[in-house]
Amino acid sequence: MPAVLISGLVKRYGKVRALDGLDLTVRTGEVHGFLGPNGSGKTTTLRVLLGLLRADAGRAVLLDGDPYRNAVELHRRLAYVPGDVVLWPTLSGGEAIDLLGRLRGGLDQRRKAALLERFALDPTRKGRTYSTGNRQKVALIAALASDVELLMLDEPTSGLDPLMEAVFRETVREERAAGRTVLLSSHILSEVEALCDRVTIIRDGRAVEAGTLAELRHLTRTSISAELDRVPGDLARLEGVHDLTADGSRVRFHIDTEHLDKALKLLTESGVRGLTCRPPTLEELFLRHYEAGR
């Protein structure tokens, strides 16, 4: 049974359909990237999984339980880092970490001390006096110091500096090695590439793509730039060729990965003198999904 299984989930806010038939599967033990443009429904999904919102239709199973009805039992087994961390102005960071850990059913003091050290957080500051990144660290430490099966992280590093981002990646890798499942919503593609086993891309409340990064790459385009003896006239008509430009004997184009073979054949028949072939960058991959349908 996967850690998270969502199918056909619908959540409406008045007329807005924030989730519109979402499917999402997070397998136990994996780090799952959850990506999508602003307002696509990532936070809404996490809040439904936490039982803070009730879905209007569809099915959501979390750690074999019902996120709404079994909320309390399930919450002992998971930890959440909200996208917007707001702390109590009169409580120190250390108090907030202890409190949230205890409310979840206890936290490991040694682990907490180690995390405070690694994230270089001063736990004596009061809530409001923390910077954005330090507030996020408070929530991260509170979540990571608990012994849970599932971590739900909503853009946990949006305020962290590169050094802390590295610490974060290290800790997530350790969590994964310890057998924990991580659902990570993020806009930082390098982070997703570095950490995630599989990703789901969501747009307008619907999953538009899901799979490993290798699988997703396969579905997209390779960019080719070639120096030829002569430019073949039927290149433009070849299936899967996009954005073709010819400049003298030099051609550039994008090709859908499944038609790569045919295009290369055509090129070699035209006398290849130089060839660069670049796999799609993650940015290109995501931009295509984010922009499609705009």
Partner: protein, 530 residues
């Protein structure tokens, strides 16, 4: 000041409905009061009789103020509703100002605005403008309404000026309060506490006939404008000047601090949470204990003052054998007068404790709106336990502040008359009978929070409505069932004989039903996000 006008328009756009409601309530109240007095006491002789009764009842004067001209409808109207209308105008001003200054800073929206080409004083200036406008409109409507009732124009104008003047002075109080602390809640608390102190000074001054005390209070000034009783226009200048001075002080303070910061720099806190901080109730206590302590101290001070002064209220009778004779034939006397005074003051404290109950319950709403509820409810805390934590503080806290007030009053009064033990018991009882009525307000707030989280402000409207029903229900000759809508109408008398427990149990049952319905509704609804 660049951008003040744009910000004022923004504030109006956000809040025109509640502000217009405030203005309408205040002005309708005044005009209805005048028309009720005209109807009830059509003859000058009747009015004079009322005036004399009032003059000899310090308890009434503590609530409303002195009568300057008992012969005219206008004079009696001024006596009866000036304080009430001024308190409401002051509350309106405080809420407007805090909402559009400190609350905006706290929510971080002020930074968005502050980064735009607007002057650094534009935001407070817009709030002041809006409050001033609201007060002006209130004053104009009152003047027009009273003149429309056929009352003399000069008096009507003076009455309107007194009410809007009080509102204006408290606009200044609120804007200064907003500079002193980083939290909107604390800013409101400081300003409302100042209003409470002003009420208290005036009440003591008027009940014990110490003019200086009354003159220290802007609410005392409002009566001393003497609308319909030989208007003293220069008092209006006191309002104008005090408001201006306070606004200037706030501007000076604002220049010395950063956006979002208060005057007291936050100190570091503990590295670890105390061992007891491990449940939602403990968290609610940790978050609310400071506020509760403030309320408790205030109630202790006020209770002591009332207790110590209560006996001297009876002196009016003791010094006047004819009046004593008259009153004793009506079944009263100096001691009965002291008791009515104490009962009336404890009644006011009961209403104020109702305010505490509403505020403490609505902490739930504050935590939810600030998205501090999400992280707690994402742990193994059931929603009902989280909500019950804050509700529990509200219920226990309102009982505690009333008990403290009763104890303090009993001790003060008891020491003065040489019977501390007896008076402590008596007045503690008289304070505690109010508890179930304040709980009903907590129940209303809880129901709104669960069912209509966007409209939790209605809990405050309910409190004000109950206060008005209690103060004006008789005068306006409202039907019994309408007056009975207020839980405070069911508080049994406790100083004159044994307490009837039935209404207390009834109020307890109503509270339980309201709170349970609120908890159930809260468990079923979506948590509001950002």
């Amino acid at each position: 000041m660049t951008g003040t006008m744009t910000l004022t328009r923004l504030a109006l756009r956000r809040d025109r409905v509640p502000v217009l409601a405030w203005i309408a309530v205040i002005s309708v109240l005044v005009v209805a009061g005048a028309s009720a007095i005209a109807e009830l006491y059509p003859q000058a002789a009747q009015r004079l009789a009322l005036g004399v009764t009032v003059g000899s009842t310090p308890a009434l004067q503590a609530l409303t103020g002195p009568v300057f001209d008992p012969t005219s409808v206008g004079g009696l109207t001024a006596w009866r509703v000036t304080t009430m209308a001024s308190v409401l105008a002051a509350l309106m001003s405080i809420l407007i100002v805090t909402r559009h200054t400190r609350a905006e800073e706290e929510a971080g929206r002020a930074e968005l605005v502050g980064a735009c080409p607007v002057g650094r004083h534009a935001m407070p200036a817009a709030a002041v403008l809006m409050a001033a406008g609201a007060n002006l409109l209130t004053g104009v409507l009152i003047a027009l309404g009273l003149a429309g009732q056929g009352l003399p124009g000069a008096g009507a104008l003076a009455f309107g000026a007194a009410v809007s003047g009080a509102g204006w002075t408290f606009t200044g109080v609120a804007i200064v309060a907003g500079q002193l602390t980083a939290h909107a809640r604390t800013a409101n608390a400081i300003a409302v506490a100042t209003l409470g102190a002003a009420f208290l000074l005036r009440a003591l001054g008027d009940a014990a006939r110490i003019e200086t005390l009354s003159w220290l209070s802007p609410l005392g000034w409002a009566q001393r404008v003497r609308a319909f009783a030989g208007e003293r226009w220069w008092v209006v200048a006191l309002f104008a000047a005090s408001g201006l001075v306070l606004v200037a002080v706030a501007a000076l303070l604002a220049r010395r601090r950063d956006l979002g910061a208060g005057f007291v720099a936050p100190r570091p806190g503990p590295r670890e949470a105390a061992a007891w901080l491990r449940s939602p109730v403990a968290l609610a206590w940790r978050l609310q204990r400071g506020t509760l302590l403030g309320w408790t101290v205030a109630f202790a001070v006020v209770g002591t003052l009332f207790g110590v002064l209560a006996h001297s209220v009876g002196d009016v009778v003791r010094d006047n054998p004819q009046l004593a004779d008259l009153l004793s034939r009506m079944g009263g006397g100096a001691d009965a007068m002291t008791d009515t005074f104490l009962a009336a003051e404890l009644g006011v404290l009961g209403l104020v404790a109702g305010g505490y109950a509403v505020q403490a319950t609505l902490r739930l709403h504050g935590e939810e709106s600030a998205i501090r509820a999400d992280p707690v409810l994402a742990t193994a805390v059931p929603r009902r336990r989280w909500a019950a934590g804050h509700l529990g503080i509200a219920l226990a806290g309102s009982a505690a502040v009333l008990a403290v007030a009763g104890l303090a009053a009993g001790l003060g009064h008891g020491i003065v008359i040489g019977d501390p033990a007896g008076q402590v018991l008596r007045l503690l009882g008289a304070a505690l009978v109010q508890v179930p009525a304040t709980w009903a307000l907590a129940g209303i707030a809880m129901l709104l929070f669960g069912l209509l989280p966007r409209l939790t402000g209605l809990a405050w409207a309910a409190l004000i409505t109950f206060a008005l029903l209690g103060q004006l229900g008789e005068l306006l000759r409202l039907e019994d069932w309408i007056q009975g809508l207020s839980p405070f109408a069911h508080v049994p008398p406790a100083l004159t004989g044994p307490v009837d427990p039935a209404p207390l149990l009834g109020l307890g049952a109503v509270t339980t039903a309201l709170a349970l319905a609120g908890l159930l509704a809260f468990q079923r609804r979506d948590l509001r996000g950002n």
